[in-house]
């Protein structure tokens, strides 16, 4: 039992570190984790799921806006990107945030191709992050189920 927990814990630690190293997450995520305590045990999961919902909605909006050939409202796209940037920096989704910055620039310069490219990348990126975080939460759950404590991971 203990070996399982230890293994899971190590796995969790490695996975978390890899997420940081690969640039999916940044310190804000750590901060977020710090905010989670007994009073709000699912705080991170809640915020993250909010974030992904937000992502989905915004990406949908942007896709629609960019789909209108010849009549693209870049302001609309820009404000969505800004929202997305704010959200991603709040949860510490580093890659998404980085993409958003590029996206915003494309938007400002009304670079249609750039925008479409960025949108695609953001879509991919947030989905992969979602998958990774899903994995991470699954691991957490497993640890909890196995009766272990979720280890503190220092980056």
């Amino acid at each position: 039992m203990d070996t399982l927990v230890a293994q899971l814990q190590r796995q969790f630690r490695d996975y978390t570190i890899s997420l940081y190293h690969q640039g999916f997450l940044d310190d804000q995520f750590t901060e977020l984790k710090k905010l989670q305590d007994e009073c709000s045990p699912d705080f991170v999961a809640e915020v993250v799921s909010l974030f992904f919902e937000d992502c989905e909605k915004l990406i949908g909006n942007m896709a629609r806006a960019l789909d209108q050939t010849g009549n693209v409202d870049f302001n609309l796209v820009g404000s969505s990107v800004h929202q997305l940037k704010g959200s991603s920096s709040s949860v510490g989704a580093k890659r998404v945030k980085g993409l958003c910055i590029t996206f915003k620039e494309c938007c400002d310069s009304q670079n249609f191709e750039g925008c479409v490219r960025c949108l695609q990348q953001v879509d991919i990126e947030y989905k992969s992050l979602k998958a990774k975080l899903q994995d991470l939460f699954n691991l957490e759950q497993q640890i909890v189920q196995a009766g272990g404590r979720i280890p503190q991971v220092d980056i």
Partner: protein
């Protein structure tokens, strides 16, 4: 313009026109460009106007100002044709008519030529008039004289006639015969120099001829042939003749036509008559024959012609040599060379006969004068014509005056011309420069933008670095690690400051820099600076120390950033150029320095050189350039402080500080000392290669010092070192305290402790003592470790003095003193063990000061009992504090670690508070809420400004509001404005003052945003995502500042 631009762009990219409500935002570059240009305008043209109007006095300043503005505006907005036209009008009269300049010069030259000609004419005329006058007077004079001479001669002939009449006819028998006459006339010939000879012819009528001829024994002959005269009515044979004309004897004078007429005329008039001129026989000169009648009896008064003829006895005649006469006459007069004289017989006016003068010798035909001559013969008329021999020469004054006049006028014209050309050129240059200036201004704007962009780009990662460092400092660190991390943080902050300074440099150059006036702690600033350079100085093994006189107030008001910048500059230079020895920063009042200098007298450089001791009483023992920091004067400073600590002059409201930075570096070559404060000047080019740097630091420092109403100067001796010093005036700030506690708040747990500092070098000891004093530790200085040890252990009979009575907490040993004292280790160990054994005495802790320490030395120190308490220099109060805390195990009471304490404080601040979080971003809202909840606050969320307004209808129970700035529909600024308005209305209605602290949440924390926040009524801002420290600061500030919120809290 923008619309057309955009639509152009869009059609280019095959996109339909889009609804851009705010096109300026899309084109920040051009709009900013325009904006900045427009703002800068009104000041700059004035400067140019000044010299421009100086150059051309007639230009109207106001007009030009307008034109300049136009011209700049044209650059900004070149589509406005009207303004281009206005710009053209900026050229002046001269510039507009530049093509006329050469024509003007030519016209002027011609005009001057005419004038010169006129002047010449006038002068020539006047000289001609003068010449004529001269000629007239000369001619008249000659004529008069000739006339006189002639009449004299005639008179003589007259006299001769009377003689003949008297002695030949009135005597009987005649008293005169040929012999007598010849003799007499020969003897009186001097009286008639011009008469070649005289002869007397008697009037013989035909009836008397026989008698006459027989009487004289000769026949009357004719003049032409010498033959006996044919029969005539009357004869006039010569009876008496002068010897020179003896050939005339017996010739009948009436036989010659002319002579006969003469004779007839003479006897009719009774006067001398003249013949027309003819060549005389003897001399071939032109001459006339003068004939004078001799009457027998005395005539009645007014005789008639008949009476005269009847009374005629004979005729006296003489040949008059006119040529000789005139010649003679002219010879007597001055200036006869200059004029040509002609005498004419003009009896027959149509055919004037020359009496005198060479007909070929014309002379100056242009000018002549005629004078009438009267030789006493009314029948004949004569005249004299005078001419100048030479043509009138052009007078010298005319020759000089006219060309001179022409030359001067031409030169004046040329000068005006070239001035005009020059003005045109200057004007052209001016316009060109104006254009360049506009371009330069544009470039300047671009540069500023670039700087702003770059600095912003640098700031972003720097914020990351600083944040990480702050987090690092929150973790458990050893004192060294902590110091490193703190140094890194300070460096990072300095870098941020530097970026601001780069921006400010432009301001300095433009003279727009304004110093701020905030209270600050000089000592902590100096500590910061020291820590910046501590690593470098340690690596170079140079001692870096700071000393602030106790008289310097704790807190002064001034521009701490600038002050710090100056010191960093100077210390940075010192560190750069120093390889051995020390750098010593000393701050004291300027008045103190004066006193010190007075009491010590000025140490002349010669004296220092002459008395070269092996070691100097400076910080490190190396020689320093300025003697003022040596112990002799320093002692004075220190002792004075102790004596007169309270004599501080509190009357004046400001304080003049003197900061000196002494190093023992390479010094500044004498030749380069003059240009040290010039920008971009280093001692020589090799310096910049060896040491790097641009050399702008000192010039900026100089500007800043001058802004602080101070002076900067230095003393430097090559290879010995430099001492820079500057003064600066700060406001006193006795009552004000610093708003925010300094990061390095000194621990107070050392107050009242005692320590012994062992150091052989008094200056260094004083520095150590200064830092210890700041920690509240009383310090005794001992010069040798041995005496210190013995005084502690109470050996050698020396009473342990204060130690016996009060506790001694620590002994701080300078490494040099320890190394130089041999065999002391065992004693120290002994002392340690002894005191350790003594339960009543608290063990004095041992600590070692060192600039650098080798491993072996470190081991030795450990074994000697210094434990791990080697305090690395440069000394800073906070660092000593940190180290001593470690030694004395005072960690529990540490204060400078915010870790643990700050969240606790934040918690205490926020617990139970009801806070409204307004953010349109769901995720952000959740995170913010989570963070605030963690600190115990009760959080209500609102997803837009309108919702927030609804929630905040007065009365409400919120204690604070965190407001996102960028929100759709209603942004944070607008929401805040409305909230404030509501509060105002509520105040008017209910007389209850409401003020909800509103904090902006924003991702970019630039200054402008902050200002905007304040403008719209916010109380502060927190950066997003939340940082503990930042959050704490903002919250603490606004909560403390608003007791009303507490009130409302308690009400709720």
């Amino acid at each position: 313009m923008f619309q057309s631009f955009l639509s152009q762009l869009i059609t280019d990219m095959n996109w339909a026109a889009l609804n851009n409500p705010n096109p300026e935002e899309k084109e920040p570059k051009s709009s900013d460009f325009y904006h900045l240009g427009a703002i800068d305008l009104p000041e700059k043209p004035r400067k140019i106007d000044f010299w421009r109007s100086g150059l051309m006095g007639f230009a109207k300043m106001k007009q030009q100002q307008q034109q300049l503005q136009h011209s700049v505006a044209v650059k900004m907005n070149s589509s406005s044709n009207e303004q281009v036209g206005n710009n053209k009008k900026g050229s002046t009269f001269i510039q507009e008519h530049r093509a006329l300049l050469p024509k003007g010069l030519i016209l002027w030259t011609i005009f001057v030529g005419f004038i010169s000609r006129g002047i010449y004419q006038w002068m020539d005329d006047s000289s001609k008039v003068r010449r004529e006058e001269v000629l007239v007077s000369m001619c008249d004079q000659r004529a008069r004289m000739l006339q006189d001479q002639f009449s004299v001669s005639v008179n003589h002939v007259h006299a001769l006639a009377i003689l003949v009449s008297t002695f030949h006819y009135h005597k009987n028998p005649s008293a005169i015969d040929q012999g007598t006459f010849a003799d007499y006339t020969a003897r009186t010939a001097f009286e008639r120099p011009l008469l070649s000879g005289v002869a007397y012819a008697e009037k013989v009528v035909n009836a008397e001829r026989e008698m006459f001829e027989s009487q004289h024994n000769w026949v009357i002959k004719t003049m032409d042939t010498g033959e006996p005269s044919p029969v005539r009515d009357e004869y006039a044979p010569v009876i008496f003749s002068q010897d020179s004309v003896s050939y005339l004897e017996s010739l009948d004078m009436m036989s010659g036509e002319e002579d006969r007429e003469n004779i007839l005329r003479a006897r009719e008039t009774g006067k001398a008559v003249l013949t027309s001129p003819f060549r005389l026989l003897a001399s071939h000169h032109l001459g006339v024959v003068l004939t004078f009648p001799v009457y027998k009896a005395s005539l009645p008064k007014n005789p008639t012609v008949q009476e005269r003829i009847a009374a005629t006895a004979g005729y006296l005649g003489g040949a008059f040599d006119v040529e000789s006469l005139v010649e003679n006459l002219l010879g007597q007069l001055a200036g006869n060379q200059a004029i040509v004289v002609h005498v004419y017989d003009i009896t027959n006016a149509s055919d004037p006969l020359v009496m005198y003068g060479n007909q070929d010798e014309e002379g100056d035909t242009s000018l002549y004068h005629e004078s009438k001559l009267d030789f006493g013969d009314p029948f004949r008329k004569h005249k004299m014509i005078c001419r100048y021999l030479q043509k009138a020469p052009i007078p010298l004054n005319v020759l000089t005056t006219v060309p001179l006049f022409f030359g001067i006028c031409f030169l004046v014209g040329y000068i005006l011309y070239s001035a005009g050309v020059h003005i045109v050129k200057v004007e052209d240059d001016f316009h060109e420069m104006q254009e360049l200036k506009v371009r330069a201004e544009a470039a300047d704007v671009a540069k500023s933008q670039f700087l702003a962009t770059v600095s912003h780009e640098i700031r972003t990662p720097m914020n990351g670095i600083l944040g990480m460092l702050a987090m690092l400092l929150d973790t458990e660190l050893s004192s060294t690690q902590r110091d490193y991390a703190q140094t890194a943080q300070i460096c990072g902050k300095a870098l941020i400051a530097l970026i601001n300074e780069v921006l400010d440099r432009a301001k300095i150059e433009a003279g727009k820099l304004e110093l701020e006036s905030v209270p600050f702690d000089i000592r902590s600033i100096l500590d910061d600076v020291l820590s910046l350079f501590s690593e470098e100085s340690r690596n170079k093994r140079i001692e870096l120390a700071v000393f602030v006189s106790d008289k310097v107030p704790e807190i002064v008001k001034g521009d701490s950033g600038r002050f710090r910048q100056i010191i960093i500059n100077l210390v940075g230079n010192s560190v750069k150029f120093t390889e051995k020895g020390h750098i010593f920063v000393k701050v004291h009042l300027a008045e103190q320095a004066k006193d010190g200098a007075e009491s010590n007298g000025v140490v002349s450089e010669d004296m220092i050189v002459a008395s070269k001791p092996s070691s100097y009483n400076t910080l490190s023992g190396y020689e320093a350039a300025d003697g003022r920091n040596s112990w002799d004067s320093f002692k004075h400073l220190v002792s004075e402080e102790e004596l007169s600590l309270l004599e501080f002059d509190t009357s004046s409201s400001n304080v003049r500080l003197m900061v000196s930075i002494e190093d023992t570096g390479i010094g500044i070559p004498l030749a380069a000392q003059g240009r040290v404060f010039m920008p971009f000047m280093q001692a020589d080019s090799s310096t910049s290669r060896t040491y790097g740097g641009t050399g702008i630091g000192l010039s900026i420092s100089k500007c800043l010092v001058e802004l602080m109403r101070g002076q900067i100067s230095f003393v430097s001796r090559p290879r010995i070192g430099s001492t820079f010093w500057f003064t600066a005036v700060f406001d006193k700030c006795e009552k004000c305290s610093l708003k925010k506690p300094t990061v390095e708040n000194l621990p107070s747990s050392f107050r009242g402790m005692r320590a012994i500092v062992v150091d052989a070098k008094p200056v260094r000891a004083a520095v150590t003592r200064y830092h210890m004093k700041r920690l509240g530790i009383n310090v005794d200085v001992m010069t040798s470790l041995r005496t210190a040890v013995s005084s502690v252990t109470g050996r050698n009979g020396s009473s342990p003095l204060p130690l016996g009575t009060t506790k001694l907490d620590m002994i701080l040993v300078e490494k040099d003193s320890w190394i130089s004292t041999e065999d002391i280790d065992s004693e120290i160990r002994q002392m340690n063990s002894r005191t350790n054994g003594n339960v009543h005495h608290k063990t004095p802790k041992l600590a070692l000061f060192a600039t650098n320490i080798t491993n072996s030395e470190f081991d030795r120190a450990k074994s000697a009992g210094f434990a791990d308490t080697v305090i690395m220099k440069p000394l800073r109060a906070s660092m000593i504090g940190a180290c001593l805390q470690q030694v004395l195990e005072l960690r529990k009471t540490r204060q400078q670690h915010p870790e643990g304490s700050s969240p606790a404080t934040l918690k205490s601040l926020l617990t139970g508070k009801k806070i409204l979080v307004v953010d349109d971003n769901m995720v952000n809202r959740r995170v913010a809420a989570g963070a605030l909840k963690k600190f115990g606050a009760e959080v209500v969320c609102a997803e837009s400004g309108q919702v927030a307004l609804g929630l905040l209808q007065i009365p409400h129970s919120f204690d604070a509001c965190f407001m996102d700035i960028q929100m759709p529909q209603m942004d944070g600024f607008e929401a805040t404005r409305q909230i404030r308005m509501m509060e105002k209305e509520a105040k008017e209605k209910t007389k209850l003052e409401w003020h909800l602290p509103i904090l902006a949440m924003t991702a970019d924390v630039i200054h402008a945003t902050y200002e905007e926040c304040l403008k719209s009524g916010m109380d502060g801002y927190v950066s997003k995502p939340f940082e503990e420290e930042n959050l704490y600061k903002s919250v603490a500030k606004s909560f403390k500042a608003n007791p009303i919120s507490d009130l409302s809290c308690s009400q709720s």
